[in-house]
């Protein structure tokens, strides 16, 4: 029986993880943390005597509240032995300001790791990471394994830098004999209704995007339900290390954009590059990468054999367009 702590449980993936773990008989107590008020979906979890679910609102990027939390009596009472760190990935995380050169996503990761290492009762740390940390070679689809090179160049896209920092922080502890670290690298995560997370070009609100003409990278995708199942598999496994995860489908960016109500309009690459460089000079680098980043040109699929072998994870959900009750079509995920 594992007692788990889930960070950013108020964000879509964290919420999905908590819901799945609540129904898992091998999970005892669940302590959920979030930056916001508890989602209403958690109301039913508070029933029971004694309750096996607790929620706390906490700023994970600040040392004092984190330290207070890990030393609180409530934390001790729930006997947490596994931490699941789900970094911010929703709309709220887009406008994160930088403190020095460290984003709050990386700052949070550092504090979570620090406290997980310092708390004797914690034996396992499962981290949700992004597969966009890999350096992409040119090409419509590159098959990447866990040993593929990370994008450690001096100038990665600003949206990706925090994910790379997080990945490296946790990767550094993979050999730790006291704390088992499982780092799950997820590709683009999609959810029923057309929600999409982690893809640097599609994250954020619905609406049209631009992409370079003549490029239509293949995007590995995974449903949010499969992502939560992977976290569950990692909790119950004894395996440590980095694991690539992916769903059954790989979809060109143009199709994925249409499915998620973010149509990608093709614009000649030279024009995009010029516009990106000009706007980037005026407003900063993020625009350049948003308009002409490598993930809008080159795609990847993931070798998931390690996760299948060591975590026993197999994707179960299909992703596609389904007809809704009102006759329209929308992205849906359903068990195969």
């Amino acid at each position: 029986m594992r007692n788990v702590l889930v960070t950013h449980s108020d964000e879509p993936l964290g919420r999905r993880v908590v819901k799945l773990l609540w129904h898992d008989e091998r999970i005892g107590n669940i302590f959920a943390l979030g930056a916001d008020a508890a989602p209403r979906a958690f109301d039913t979890f508070r029933a029971g005597d004694p309750p096996r679910f607790a929620y706390a609102r906490i700023d994970l990027a600040r040392h004092r509240p984190m330290s207070d939390f890990f030393h609180s009596s409530q934390f001790r009472e729930l006997e947490i032995d596994t931490v699941i760190h789900v970094p911010q990935h929703g709309v709220a995380s887009e406008g994160l300001p930088l403190a020095g050169n460290v984003s709050s996503r990386a700052g949070e990761a550092r504090l979570v790791l620090e406290h997980a290492l310092a708390t004797r009762s914690i034996r396992s740390l499962v981290v949700v990471g992004s597969a966009f940390v890999y350096r992409l070679a040119p090409g419509n689809a590159n098959h990447l394994s866990e040993s593929s090179e990370l994008d450690l160049g001096p100038d990665p896209a600003p949206g990706l830098r925090p994910w790379i920092d997080c990945d490296m922080l946790f990767h550094g502890e993979i050999g730790n004999p006291r704390l088992r670290v499982a780092l799950l690298r997820l590709p683009t995560v999609v959810a029923s209704g057309g929600y999409v997370y982690l893809h640097p070009g599609l994250a954020g609100r619905a609406g049209p995007r631009l992409r370079p003409l003549g490029f239509d990278p293949l995007c590995a995708v995974i449903s949010d339900k499969d992502a939560a199942r992977a976290v569950q598999a990692a909790i119950h496994s004894d395996a440590a290390g980095a694991f690539n995860l992916s769903g059954r489908e790989a979809i060109p960016l143009s199709v994925l954009g249409r499915w998620t109500r973010r149509p990608c309009l093709p614009v000649p690459g030279l024009l995009l590059r010029a516009a990106g460089a000009g706007l980037g000079r005026l407003l900063g680098n993020p625009l350049r990468d948003l308009l002409d980043g490598p993930h809008l040109r080159y795609g990847f699929t993931l070798d998931t054999s390690r996760a299948e072998r060591e975590l026993g994870f197999q994707p179960q959900y299909r992703i596609g367009l389904a007809r809704t009750g009102d006759g329209g079509l929308r992205l849906e995920t359903a068990r195969a």
Binding site: A141, G194, G214, D303, G320, L321, G325
Partner: protein, 376 residues
Amino acid sequence: MSKFDERIGRAPGDGKKPDIEPPSPGPALGSDPFEALNDGDPLEEWLDAAERLLKGKTASGASQESAAAGAGAAVREFPHTPPVVDLDEEPALSEIELPPPAGVLERMLDANARRRLEALAEDLPAEGSYDHFGLSAKAVRSAFPLLYTLYRLYFRVRSEGHQHIPSDGAAVLVANHGGLLPFDGAMAAVDIFLHTDPPRLARAIVDLWAGTLPFVNVFFARVGQVIGTHENFTALLGEGNLVLTFPEGIDGIRKPINQRYQLQHFHVGFVEHALRAQAPIVPFAILGSDDQAPILYDVKPLARWLGLPVAPITPTFPWFGPLGLLPYPVNYRIVYGEPIQLHERFEPDAAEDARLVHELSAQVRRTVQRLVDRSR
């Protein structure tokens, strides 16, 4: 506004922000959620449009069709449940029953080629989906008739030594490279497809530079070409594919006319991968490719300035504009040599021995050069 709210980018009193607008109602009850799908790959849509044009349909008719598709009236099945195939009862090539040719492209094929395409369909990803490297069954089906026509009528390819191509399992096929545009790779892939039983689709390794070219990168991926990274090569062999490689790389296609059929320096990665995967290496020679676009002079400073691997002057380029780059209708001849069974002599960890790998690569290069010289 608190500092915390400010940091996470939330307005005061904003409460919980939805990620995007509220979703529409869920799927209709009692139906397969994936019964309908009307969004496709743009490349496939273009290929469809091209076929419609060839059929002589009017543009207005086509636009009416696409409008109907957009309205969800004409939708195709969601593809991800492949049909169950009984492998024990796989028919021989001659037993495959062919329906009448469906379109102009299929009419360009003879019965043997169509049967082979049908037989290959079982190894391709389901319609509407892609494999790890972006291959699409529909793109293969659409592109093959055009390549087959080039193979039969334009380059009039003759070949020998097919018995050396393994009928199953992974293998690395190594050849000489030439001719500015990589028609040699395409003709070799068609030849292998037409002379293996069951028909096999060779996956050609292409240079990283091809992956940076608009449209080309998508087309190559959809018809089965793969960018030459270590991970891709490993995965292809791991899945038991025939991997077609030209270890000369760009140096092969930009060699001047006075060096035609003289093999350039070989990159050694293919030997490492063949050793690790314990796959045989099949050397073969392609004759004709070095004559299809003889390079009189390579203007290297111009190529560097334009960021291109080569800035050629040929008898027809740049005098006839881009048309001058098209290959001349030379006769191709492909000769397959005996496989080099490295795995019988070396263990997989021999791939770590750089000196051995270089020596084996040079040995394969000499073998291909001998095949070229003997066949000319």
